[in-house]
């Protein structure tokens, strides 16, 4: 970390290697779009590099970079709101071609239901269930008290279940 802050290219490349996948997955679940997630991930690391000076080291690096990732995802979603949405079905699905059709359909359904949630509910689901953060860690990323995180997560799960049912899917 110290080497990365000293602008050591190899150290920063190691950070990209270490956090790239998780940041990409966070962005993917927040935006619901592979290419957007890729762009968000790239922007996250560019911003992280440019703002490494502001990372004070008191908080943990993951909470700092995940917060940037959430903000970047929200910025992209805000920009996208002003535009006509593309039909996501038209984007070729190159992810995990070896997985079964049923598993892919389930993933698609979950992603669609996630996108039905407001961003504040979606982000807690993503942090808890896809990034496996504890409530305390989520509080650090979102800068919220643990109690608020829990309450938001409870409501988010209720809403996600409703969104899945509305789409005719019963979680099993």
């Amino acid at each position: 970390m110290a080497a990365a802050r000293a602008r050591d290219p190899k150290a920063f490349a190691a950070l990209v290697e270490a956090y790239g996948r998780v940041v990409f997955n966070l962005a993917l679940r927040m935006t619901g779009h592979h290419e957007d997630a890729r762009d968000v991930t790239q922007n996250v690391f560019v911003k992280a590099y440019e703002k490494l000076d502001t990372f004070d080291g008191r908080s943990r690096f993951f909470s700092w970079i995940y917060r940037i990732a959430i903000n970047e995802s929200l910025n992209l979603l805000a920009r996208r709101k002003r535009m006509v949405a593309l039909d996501e079905e038209l984007v070729s699905d190159e992810q995990s071609p070896h997985r079964g059709a049923e598993a892919r359909e389930e993933e698609r359904m979950v992603q669609a239901a996630l996108l039905d949630l407001t961003a504040e509910y979606r982000q807690v689901i993503v942090l808890r269930h896809f990034l496996d953060l504890s409530h305390v860690e989520m509080g650090q990323v979102l800068r919220l008290p643990e109690k608020t995180v829990k309450s938001r997560l409870h409501t988010a799960r209720v809403r996600l279940g409703e969104a899945l049912r509305k789409r005719g899917y019963a979680p099993r």
């Binding site: 890729r38 790239q42 593309l86 409530h135």
Partner: protein, 257 residues
């Protein structure tokens, strides 16, 4: 419908954050509430469904893309490595403000030129190329979008319509240069101009446009649209691999919505 207190209690237990006392309280309540047992099963199903969604793989070439983006922002040559502290000082706030101001004026001039015809697009067979970012974030109106992976190179394309012009924007990512051929029915589309962020050789015929050895970068091809429904067939060769597919017409995309 169970009350919020019990809903939270079930979630606490499933989340693994419950105390022993909370677990016992839930078990006692579930023994007396069939509604509670149903709700617990539903929530267990939700937890398991979410757990089954796999982590996606990191996109190929992400590290290289980040490095390239940092170099581009620093304006340093490719051999310099990542942005240096010196470069960061040089590209300080005042310089960036001036740069943004100058870029705004330039963009305005180019936009005005394009509208008035003062800066015409490159004609077929022309050798000049415009340098800069041309890949739009999203088409403002209906558009089609596709992505292909040919060996180590990823190619993303999108098409949209502006008046009677169909614009196809292509972004190439990865290390291996790509040959990209776009073929189409000349009765429906007539190629008009190619713009490239990184100069590469291109050929233009009445029924196809070929970009040879396209390096990482972006290019756009403008077509006069005679029939809205004609797709563009895209064939890509890079790093010894070949893939192909169609880029649907914006009109076809709009019909599917």
């Amino acid at each position: 419908m169970i009350d919020r207190d019990h809903e939270q209690l079930i979630q606490e237990v499933l989340d693994g954050h419950a105390t022993k006392a909370q677990v016992e309280r839930l078990e006692a309540w579930l023994e007396t509430s069939s509604e509670g047992r149903t709700r617990k099963r539903e929530l267990e199903g939700l937890f398991q469904t979410l757990a089954r969604v796999p982590l996606a793989e990191t996109p190929a070439g992400l590290g290289a893309d980040v490095e390239r983006a940092l170099r581009a922002r620093a304006g340093s040559p490719a051999s310099d490595g990542l942005v240096t502290p010196f470069a960061r000082r040089w590209f300080g706030p005042r310089f960036r403000l001036a740069f943004v101001f100058a870029a705004g004026i330039a963009a305005g001039a180019v936009g005005l030129g394009a509208l008035t015809g003062a800066f015409p697009p490159i004609a077929p067979g022309g050798e000049d190329s415009l340098v800069g970012t041309m890949m739009p974030e999203r088409p403002r109106t209906g558009g089609g979008r596709r992505a292909w992976q040919a060996g180590p190179t990823r190619v993303e394309a999108m098409a949209w319509r502006t008046g009677k012009t169909r614009v196809v924007a292509v972004r190439v990512r990865g290390e291996a240069p790509a040959d990209i051929e776009m073929s189409f029915d000349p009765a429906g589309l007539a190629p008009g101009a190619v713009r490239q962020s990184t100069p590469s050789r291109f050929e233009m015929d009445r029924d196809r446009v070929v970009i040879r050895g396209a390096a990482a970068g972006e290019f756009t091809v403008e077509f006069e649209e005679r029939s809205g429904a004609v797709p563009v067939l895209v064939a890509i060769r890079a790093g010894g691999a070949a893939v192909s597919g169609d880029l649907p017409s914006p009109q076809a995309v709009a019909r599917l919505r």
